[in-house]
Symmetry: C2
Subunit: 260 residues, 2 copies
């Protein structure tokens, strides 16, 4: 029995999230069914973190253990041949001894895309959130600064998934426009050592209130200090969110997994 580590992308639109749920299509369930057909035994696939229904991944990292004579590259192709085309295993290798996709992850980066303004790019309709009014990026950046660092992020945690503690460290929070044809959508990138339930989407929903001028930038500091979910903005929709990369230490088989 060997341990494997894979990097995979998925379009979350058709899935009820990463984690197996009875009767619902999930990314984990799809991968486990493919592996069972290939190696002839039940295989449990563990990802660096669960993503919610409708959330995408450019470079999720997952680990599993199984017995097979297939070389990793052949196994990778076999998995891709057994899954629909909205999931894609980009890399697969034998994992270092004791590798654990959740425990060994040092940091994760999420990216949220917003199309703001009267026009929309329909080719990005399943991978962005469209808002009709324009957002003030400078104000949002000013608000975002309060979130960087080690804080109790309880105000940005949705109910439903209790954690032992809600202190996390945000290493970087960047907001910038990028060119997509004539439009210039906005990307919000958050890198942290871990994320609470819906944390990125609640941060985005709050920063949007600042970008619209409904709240001043330092309102973000007040929300953070309140440690009270009811103080923050609404949860931004899942479709705009993508797990961008997961960072591991050298001992866990690689510096940084980044998408294709």
């Amino acid at each position: 029995m060997l341990g494997y580590r894979m990097t995979l992308a998925y379009d979350g639109t058709a899935y009820a999230g990463w984690q197996v749920q009875p009767g619902l299509p999930t990314v984990q369930g799809t991968l486990e069914a493919a592996l069972e057909r290939i190696v002839g035994a039940r295989v449990r696939v563990v990802a660096s973190g669960r993503t919610d229904a409708g959330v995408h991944a450019l470079a999720q990292v997952a680990g599993f253990r199984c017995t097979t004579r297939l070389a990793p590259e052949v196994l990778r192709r076999a998995i891709n041949a057994h899954i629909p085309d909205d999931i894609y295993v980009a890399e697969l290798q034998v994992a270092p001894d004791g590798f654990h996709a959740i425990r060994d992850a040092l940091a994760k980066r999420y990216r949220y895309v917003i199309q703001d303004g009267p026009h929309r790019d329909l080719f990005a309709r399943t991978t962005s959130w469209h808002l009709h009014s324009g957002l003030d990026v400078t104000q949002m950046q000013a608000g975002a600064r309060y979130l960087v660092g080690r804080h109790d992020f309880r105000s940005f945690e949705s109910a439903g998934a209790p954690r032992r503690h809600s202190v996390r460290t945000i290493y970087a929070l960047r907001i910038e426009r990028f060119a997509r044809r004539r439009l210039q959508p906005l990307a919000i990138e958050v890198e942290a050592d871990g994320f609470l339930y819906n944390m990125v989407r609640n941060i985005v929903g709050s920063l949007v209130l600042v970008g619209r001028g409904e709240r001043p930038p330092d309102w973000i500091a007040q929300v953070l200090a309140a440690c009270d979910r009811t103080q923050a903005g609404p949860t931004a929709p899942a479709c705009g969110l993508m797990l961008w990369s997961v960072r591991y230490g050298a001992a866990a088989g690689g510096e940084c997994a980044d998408g294709p």
Copy 2:
């Protein structure tokens, strides 16, 4: 009764092409049904050219005539509110007298995207063609040069749509790689005064044989001279093709319609 001109984008994946066909979802049929609900009368929408099943448009131009009290911007929003989110009307204005979307078009530009290589970007799976082997762009560019100019393109016309004549002028044919995350897909852009049935897809299918090294660049010249469809390469799949822009003279209401 006034004439209107609109610029629209669509994801062709779910449609049996532009043109109305009984019992099948089409872009024209969807727009005409929306207009009928809005203005309360049958409206015929004429595009600069029909696109085939599965082909996309970033900036298709279409014209129609109807009687309504709605201002053009209000009418545009009303149409968008009555169509699914894979079609989007980006612009709508009163057309110059006698405007005709087909007759007045001076040139059209199509863009075909190929992902070549072992890895694929699944977020572009409905807007590109994935080939597992890499293509030699320099060889393809050398082959493409033979096609620029005024020629009889009969060798690149699929059966099924007889034209009065098959002479067309290609103004430009550019092939280049562009960055999409780590991958560098290939874009083939063709601008011409008009296109025969499946002309771009047959040109792409032929240039791919050159890019793979299965044919030398000057084979394209032989195919062109033969005026015989059986000499050319296969038809590339529809999903990689997008109508990129349509050019009109100033009298027809604008230099160039380009996508949002």
